[in-house]
Amino acid sequence: MMMVSMALLVWCGGWWLNGRLANSPASNTSAVKLLVPAIFGVTLLIVWELLVRGLEVSLVILPAPSVIAARFATSLPILWQDFQQTILKGALSGYIIGCGAALLMAIAVDRSDFLRRGLLPVGNFVAALPIVGTAPILVMWFGFDWQSKAAVVVVMVFFPVLVNTVAGLRETSAMQRDLMQTYAASYWQSFFKLRLPAALPFVFNGLKISTTLALVGAIVAEFFGSPTVGMGFRISTSVGQLALDMVWAEILVAALAGSAFYGMMALIEKTLTFWHPSQRG
């Protein structure tokens, strides 16, 4: 009971501290912008730790953060292997192929109104196919190794990027297009000088959504068949062995990798679309 009430106390304390920070004059400095979510996260972890200990939750249901951290620290080699297999081989290659193909397709779709009308509704339909159904099929087609995971990722990221890019390429204002008309600019001139830059904020929207999709896709696909390495493999095997600390260590890797991946794309976005009002604050 002590620990539970302490958890409550820590929770309130965290919020209070964040409230002070967020409404202080320094709240626009990047230090505070990092500090506030960090405090929130730490608060969350402490509350989790205290609740798990206080309520004596079984280790095989929900391990405490400290246990997870210990497991993480002692299993680094395994986690690194799994990370290589799932993220570097499966997710990343699938992401690059999927996004690249989607961008090329978007250009083709954009050039032809007929294709756009026909392909986008079908595309939206295909995008609604649940991954738990497509993953076993793709594992059957592309084998157990990372190729099938990359294929799942390709299928998952293709349509978000396509739809966003097509929307972005149409985002130019009539005046901007008319200007190109008066210059008698060729298709590719107006593509590279007008439509592509104007589309970038949308393209990045798709690319950012796709980062998390790629990660989740690669991991989930491993549930349906894999070599004996990989984050999805480790998670499903560890659940079966009640090694929940290992499961959470892998989830931690996924969250770290996902956030880093997302943050990287957001950073590239910021440097390339610095001119967009949403980036100017």
Partner: protein, 279 residues
Amino acid sequence: MNMETTTQALNSQAAASDITPQAPVIEARNLDLTFQTNDGPVHALKDVSLEINKGDFVSFIGPSGCGKTTFLRCIAALEQPTGGALTVNGMTPDEARRQRAYGYVFQAAGLYPWRTIAKNIKLPLEIMGYSKAEQATRVEQVLELVELAGFGGKYPWQLSGGMQQRASIARALAFDADILLMDEPFGALDEIVRDHLNEQLLKLWARTDKTIGFVTHSIPEAVYLSTKIVVMSPRPGRIHDVIDSPLPKERPLDIRDSAEFIEIAHRVRDGLRAGHADD
């Protein structure tokens, strides 16, 4: 401001294109344009006939929605008339467009936010394949012309609305278009800046012998600038009156206090009012 080099370049161009002195540069015969909209057809231009000669400065004035923009867009081949005939330099507007005969200044600045001011002005030059060196000198020249020297490296959103508008004018002046079409280019500017730019525009026009089509809501501005004032009226958009200005080509700002000026202004105002009364 030193415009000599530009002037030379522009003049030589003008001389070269001086082929048929007699034929009008722009000729519209019974032009008609109807937009099909959800609420039914909109008759934006009806039976519009007009001749514009080389070196003319033509202002279009009229109530909102009378088809000023539409007419300019027809000339620039941005809109397809539904009836009548329109020729530019003896060609169809679209052929003229392909020959890059136009510089168009839109009502809003319409600068690309991902390009600096200098790169925005460079845009048409890149597209038309000017050499790098030529691009640089021209950008310098026009930036000076619109008094934006030193702002080339800024992004559009870092400039005030008036400065943006000037940049967009510079963009249209950077390449050698015979015909300059300007759709309310000074609408967003305050009177002083506007006076100043009016003077500059007149000077440029006098030097280069460009043909200019100019849309404005301001009667003094129209009278001050034009050799020909076209008063339009709406629903359907048509020409109400065409007034040829007797003012000399050389026009100091205080010409606006002259009796001649005031008389023309009165005639324009009457035409406008009549157009409104049609509503």
